[in-house]
């Protein structure tokens, strides 16, 4: 199963429609919506957190959160 955490640097994915329940409300409000395009911009030196761009928001989130959000790879 692909999640945001499984993206490599520069890769793009689309949040799956079924992921809704697993997205924390706060992230949803910040634009992490089902169907949205997610780009992984950078992984921190110790492999965590990760830096993503989704729906125009540039966010740093932890692997733990990212691995709950399913995506479809393009």
């Amino acid at each position: 199963m692909n999640t945001i955490a499984s993206l490599g640097i520069g890769e793009i994915g689309y949040i799956s429609e079924g992921a809704l329940e697993h997205i924390p409300l706060k992230l949803l409000e910040m634009g992490c919506l089902p169907g949205a395009e997610v780009e992984l911009i950078q992984i921190a030196p110790l492999k965590d957190p990760i830096y993503i761009c989704v729906n125009g928001s540039h966010l740093a989130i932890r692997k733990e959160t990212a691995s709950q959000i399913q995506i479809l790879k393009s």
């Binding site: 809704l20 329940e21 997205i23 924390p24 409300l25 706060k26 992230l27 949803l28 409000e29 910040m30 634009g31 919506l33 089902p34 911009i41 950078q42 921190a44 030196p45 110790l46 492999k47 965590d48 957190p49 830096y51 729906n55 125009g56 928001s57 540039h58 966010l59 740093a60 989130i61 932890r62 959160t65």
Partner: protein, 703 residues
């Protein structure tokens, strides 16, 4: 506040320029910075909207939605839920960032649904062309059914339009919901909710249910009814999710008609810079290089102005001595006030340079990159990536740093951060460090280029940081608090620092330092001087006793004068006080004079140098006034016949100041933020105990 003033609240996502706009409207200079979470408390100011109409503007912390996840965000919720009718805003001014309008409109749509008159100010329009953005303003106004204005708070554009829009919006008092998202999800359920109290908007009632936060106007019975909606938690959660999706759908519809981004025109500097600043190796290297640069500059740039100030104050004392009529008042000025104040003023150059660097870092957007780089490390020690902001800004002062922890949502992580922040080397320690370093560390270069004194200073900052981390680790293992750690941080765009913002910031902070310390030292130096130049009978007879003592017969006239001076000081009130604590601090390498300075330092550390300056001035009976540094350098330890501030004693003092909790203001703020005296007391005794033990070890090993 006059009765007919309009109450306006500034609300918006973090880092959209609310405080910049607030400053433009009110003429105040609140802190602005390029990272989310600069403002963490409410702040009021007044603004003249027109010739006849004034407004009271409230600046608020930034938030992504009305559903709060941390203390700073919950301040916004409380303001909106009309906890206190007198405080509740008449008009809400939503500030949005033009670059990320979609996400900013989510909060706007929530606020609209509260049915409060709302003005939308789209900020940073100076960036539009660079980002290839164009907006159809007329259509947007119509679609959103609100006053919309385009502004640039930084460039002072469109401010007049904001004022007009507030008046217009207030007069029309039209407040219709934007999408009433909830009705669309489950009309039956929400009809029941609305029936509880139709005086409130549906969205207000929904917030009361989800946030369990009730205005005064809600009766006991209604509260119970509202709480009954709260039983089915999974349903609430599902509806909140659905509501958010629905809002975004509506917003997309609006933006499709009104907002166009031409990606081909956008220049993207950000991703290039991010590749370097958050790089595995370069990221840390750059961070370290920035720190090295700061400490080098603190020493290099400041040495000239500091020497200048030091000699000026010595000359000023001379001048005062020669020109004032002899008497108590002149003694007070020459021996008490001038050296005391000089001991504060001399540090302005260094403090200002430090503040300058912090302000520039905060304005560029680099801080958030450090948060990103450090989260994993900080988490290991019971903190959060966001803790790095308080730990860095704590190098200016622990008080705003402790306030800044409000953005950390986990209570345990926040508490740990609050408890360890005072280990960070704050600017009040800088004076003590620099003067001691210049006395005990030679001014040579290491590795051929780096100043050894600057390197020592860097090591002291590192000592503070490492101790903070270790203390956090111990606290993490011992504190039995359960709370979820959650971490989402927005990475702001890089910006060139606004010179005006940086200058104001440096000015405000330096002023606060000088006046804060100045007030204390002024009062203290009067008291110190009085206690040092008065005493019981042994003080009054000192001169007689010394001259009549056979042992002193062969002393020269100046030596005799000096002897009289020091015997007098020893027998003065302050001398007696100092002597009584001397046994406790002697093993650390301090005498009673240093002991006095330690005691006054508990009011504020930065008065250490001023206190010593006053004490030494009173003691020196001769007419030559020397600079503070020379006074300290020539102070002799009578037991050893060597310098008082030699290497072992100096190191021991450095360690003491690095660890001891000597700041009343910090203790008071910790009490306020943690709501109990338990934590500040733990800090006071824990840190000071640690300081005592470590200084003892250092002195005993080195001497």
């Amino acid at each position: 506040m006059a009765k007919n003033d309009i109450k306006v609240a500034l609300i918006g996502n973090p880092n959209t320029g609310k405080t910049s706009l607030f400053n433009q409207l009110t003429g105040l200079t609140q802190k602005v910075g390029n990272y989310p979470g600069v403002t963490v408390d409410k702040k009021k100011g007044t603004c003249k909207l027109s010739a006849t109409q004034n407004a009271v503007i409230t600046d608020l912390p930034g938030t992504y939605s009305i559903n709060p996840t941390s203390i700073d965000e919950s301040i916004v919720l409380k303001t909106l839920l009309k906890k206190d009718i007198k405080e509740s805003p008449d008009v809400i001014l939503v500030v949005a960032d033009v670059e990320n309008l979609k996400r900013n409109l989510l909060l706007f749509s929530q606020i609209k649904d509260l049915e409060i008159p709302t003005v939308l100010a789209i900020n940073m329009v100076d960036q539009m062309s660079r980002k290839g953005i164009s907006i159809d303003l007329t259509a947007l106004k119509e679609e959103l059914n609100t006053e919309v204005v385009l502004i640039s708070a930084r460039k002072n554009q469109g401010i007049k339009n904001v004022k007009d829009a507030i008046i217009k919006c207030h007069v029309a008092a039209k407040a219709s919901p934007m999408c009433d998202a909830n009705y669309k999800i489950d009309p039956e359920y929400f009809d029941k909710l609305k029936a509880i109290n139709p005086n409130f908007s549906l969205y207000e009632l929904w917030l009361m249910v989800t946030q369990k936060n009730f205005p005064a106007a809600i009766s006991k019975k209604e509260k119970a009814q509202l709480l009954s909606f709260n039983k089915d938690v999974s349903r609430l959660k599902k509806y909140q999710h659905k509501e958010t999706i629905y809002r975004y759908q509506e917003i997309n519809k609006v933006l499709k008609k009104t907002y166009i981004v031409d990606k081909s025109k956008a220049t993207d500097l950000r991703s290039k810079l991010d590749k370097v600043f958050t790089h595995k190796i370069f990221g840390y290297l750059i961070f370290f290089a920035v720190l090295l640069l700061i400490f080098q500059s603190i020493f290099d740039w400041s040495s000239l102005p500091m020497d200048l100030i030091d000699t000026t104050f010595a000359e000023l004392s001379d001048f005062a001595r020669n020109n004032l009529p002899m008497g108590i008042l002149s003694d007070l000025i020459v021996e008490g006030i001038i050296p005391g104040i000089g001991g504060v003023i001399i540090f302005i150059p260094q403090i200002a340079i430090l503040f300058l660097f912090i302000a520039v870092l905060e304005e560029t957007g680099y801080m958030s990159r450090v948060v990103f780089l450090m989260d994993k490390i900080m988490r290991r020690y019971g903190m959060n990536g966001k803790s790095i902001i308080p730990l860095i800004s704590g190098t200016a002062c622990a008080i705003p740093a402790i306030m800044a922890t409000r953005t950390i949502s986990s209570w345990k992580e926040r508490l740990i951060t609050i408890l360890v922040v005072p280990f960070t080397t704050c600017s009040a320690r800088l004076p003590v460090y620099t003067i001691l370093i210049s006395l005990i560390i030679p001014n040579t270069k290491i590795f051929g280029f780096y100043n050894l004194q600057a390197f020592t200073l860097l090591m002291l900052y590192a000592l503070g940081f490492v101790t903070a981390i270790l203390a956090a680790y111990i606290l993490q293992k011992t504190l039995k608090i359960k709370s979820n750690s959650f971490f989402v941080v927005e990475m702001p765009n890089y910006k060139l620092p606004s010179i005006k913002n940086v200058a104001f910031d440096v000015l405000e902070k330096t002023k606060a330092f000088v006046f804060g310390a100045g007030k204390i030292i002024l009062a203290l130096s009067v008291v110190l001087w009085f206690l040092a130049s008065n005493g019981p009978s042994s003080f009054k007879n000192a001169e007689e006793n010394v001259t009549n003592n056979i042992e002193n017969r062969q002393l020269s006239a100046t030596e005799l004068q000096q002897k009289i001076g020091s015997v007098k000081l020893e027998n003065s009130y302050i001398g007696i006080m100092g002597k009584s604590i001397e046994p406790a601090i002697k093993p650390l390498g301090y005498d009673w004079k240093v002991g006095i300075a330690l005691i006054t330092s508990f009011a504020a550390r930065e008065v250490f140098v001023g206190t010593l300056a006053t004490i030494y001035s009173v003691e020196a009976e001769d007419e030559n006034t020397t600079t503070i540094k020379e006074k300290m350098r020539s102070e002799i330890n009578p037991d050893t016949g060597k310098q008082r501030f030699n290497f072992p004693a100096g190191m021991s003092l450095l360690v003491f100041y690095a660890f001891a909790m000597q700041c009343m203001a910090t203790l008071a703020i910790v009490k306020r933020e943690t709501k109990t005296w338990k934590w500040p007391l733990i800090q006071l005794f824990g840190m000071t105990g640690l300081a005592y033990i470590c200084s003892l070890i250092v002195y005993q090993i080195l001497s």
